[in-house]
Amino acid sequence: MTDKVKVEECSYRWHRRYVFAAALIAFITLLVVLWFVVLKG
């Protein structure tokens, strides 16, 4: 791994974690919304 790649990996670490968490939360939210829509329907 080159120094530049190491710096990039280090620089993006928290951005990636936030994106993963946000995607997970967004998907769960979608499921919950769909669940309520189906129940109401």
Binding site: E9, V19, F27
Partner: protein, 510 residues
């Protein structure tokens, strides 16, 4: 015997019934199991792959197919995550998830096929049929759910990228607005170019990288990271001026931390030997004396200015002559003046008089285009009409001090025409016309402008200065020190010069 056949028949019917029950149960159970495995397994696989790409990043993880690269001439900084890498990661996650789902399908297909190739086909074929139906239905549902997962991920990346870019644009706009409100316009004292934003050296101890534009953008919003790993602030608002600045045009160091205070370009012009350098020295000496008396704070903005002007007060005190100003293009002397709550960066340009006689040489002094206050220095002794009226013995006494340059109006006419050609609206500029040698010539009884008109015969110059410029003020100064103090005329000139920039110096405005 018939009873035995009946018994066999009943047994066969029972076995067939049991087999039908087995088939009727096995097919849906296996199908439902396969449906659950694939319908939920595929989105789970997607999130597992996303987790590997974004969080755990194991060593065996395949490389992304493409990775964004900044242009070859871009700054040596790491791209901001939402300016390309986030989409590359999304693409990478989709590819990794697709590979894992393919493995899942292959494994399922192998199991289904194996159910049709056994010796107990009667038992296994319902499992195979159920598995095939379940895998097909589960894949359809799973694909839908996985696409929904991927869309959620892309939505998050898209919203974040938009927010980051919008934040960057707002911060950039705010920084520009603050600079505009504070009236901060930066200029390079060496190449005279307007600096819209300074370039900065990486603050890393051994890093030689230079960043030409650190403002929020593709390399970072609040901070950016140099290739060496060092973090850098992106805006003057956030304190980027603490770093070592450079001119983005010529690369010269801007040691005075530009961007913290409004800058003022102050060119001196006039004929050869008019006393420009000496006037500059006396103004600097006055500022330093006020600083010593703690009435304001004036400090040299860079090492070059300190080297050139440290001797100013010594030269004035010892009444020695100043060295002739070199013919080459002048470097601005940078002085930071703080009076009360106001701070200004003065760029004082002292060009040799020879540069004001020929148009092409004056045109090279491009710093005039940034100036809104100018200082014209005139040696009254160089005015022929005035010299002729002096008594012979006085002429003999002053002959060695007199400037032998051509008429001072030539330098004025030449310069003000060139300044106009540079696009400077003279109607918005201020001109200080400074007559030197007040220590050798009697103080005018009238105001200086009337004296210049009536005694020196410079009526045309006085009239032109008043008509062309927004404000023209006339001074009679002496660049000398008497009893350890600078001549009264110099602080008066300084007050007028800085009052135009909204700075009040000790003693009030003239």
């Amino acid at each position: 015997m018939p009873l035995l056949y009946l018994l066999y028949l009943l047994l066969a019917v029972a076995v067939a019934l049991l087999y039908a029950i087995f088939v009727a149960c096995a097919v849906p159970i296996v199908a439902i199991s396969a449906f659950i495995a694939y319908g939920f397994g595929m989105p789970f696989t997607y999130f597992l792959s996303l987790g590997r790409v974004l969080v755990s990043r194991p060593a065996w993880l395949s490389s992304p197919r493409s990775w964004p690269k900044p242009p070859a001439d871009a700054d040596p900084a790491v791209l901001q995550y939402f300016y390309g890498p986030a989409m590359a990661d999304a693409d990478h996650a989709v590819r990794v998830a697709y590979e894992k789902c393919q493995e899942l399908w292959k494994r399922g297909a192998k199991i289904v096929v194996s159910f049709f190739g056994t010796d107990n086909l009667m038992v296994t074929w319902p499992l195979g049929i159920g598995g095939a139906i379940g895998i097909a239905a589960g894949t359809a549902f799973g694909a839908f759910a996985t696409v929904a997962c991927a869309l959620m991920h892309l939505l998050v990346v898209g919203v974040a990228a938009l927010s980051v870019r919008a934040t960057g644009a707002v911060l950039r706009g705010t920084d520009s607005a603050v600079l505009r409100i504070k009236n901060i316009q930066m200029i390079c004292p060496v190449c005279y170019e307007r600096v819209s934003y300074p370039a900065y050296d990486c603050p890393g101890l051994t890093c030689p990288n230079r960043h030409r534009d650190v403002r929020p953008g593709r390399f970072g919003i609040v901070r950016r990271r140099c290739y060496c790993g060092t973090r850098m602030k992106t805006l003057l608002l956030f304190g980027s001026s603490e770093m070592d600045a450079r001119c983005p045009h010529c690369g010269h160091p801007l040691e005075y931390h530009p961007g913290e205070a409004p800058e003022m370009v102050l060119p001196f012009f006039g004929a050869v030997g008019a006393g420009k350098t000496r006037l500059l020295f006396s103004m600097v000496t006055q500022l330093r004396m006020w600083t010593a008396a703690e009435r304001l704070a004036a400090e040299f903005g860079d090492s070059s200015t300190a080297r050139d002007l440290n001797v100013a007060d010594h030269i004035l005190r010892s009444n020695s002559t100043t060295a002739k100003t070199p013919i080459q293009l002048p470097r601005g002397h940078v002085i930071r003046v703080t009076s009360g709550n106001d701070t200004r960066i003065l760029h004082m340009f002292d060009a040799p008089g020879e540069r004001f006689y020929k148009a092409h040489r004056t045109q090279e002094l491009r710093y005039f285009s940034q100036a809104r206050t100018l200082i014209l220095v005139i040696d009254p002794l160089s005015v022929e009409a005035f010299w002729e009226r002096l008594p012979r013995d006085r002429q003999a006494e002053l002959d060695s001090l007199r400037s032998t340059a051509p008429s001072p109006t030539l330098a004025y006419d030449q310069t003000h025409q060139e300044i106009e050609r540079m696009g400077v609206p003279l109607g918005k500029a201020r001109l200080a016309v400074v007559f030197s040698r007040a220590d050798l010539i009697d103080e005018p009884s009238d105001d200086v402008a009337t004296w210049a008109d009536e005694v020196l015969g410079l009526g045309n110059l006085v009239c032109s200065a008043r008509q062309q410029f927004k404000e023209a003020y006339f001074f009679h100064t002496a660049a000398v020190m008497v009893d350890g103090t600078v001549h009264d005329s110099v602080p008066k000139l300084l007050r007028w010069v800085l009052a135009g920039s909204g700075v009040s110096l000790p003693g009030g405005t003239p």
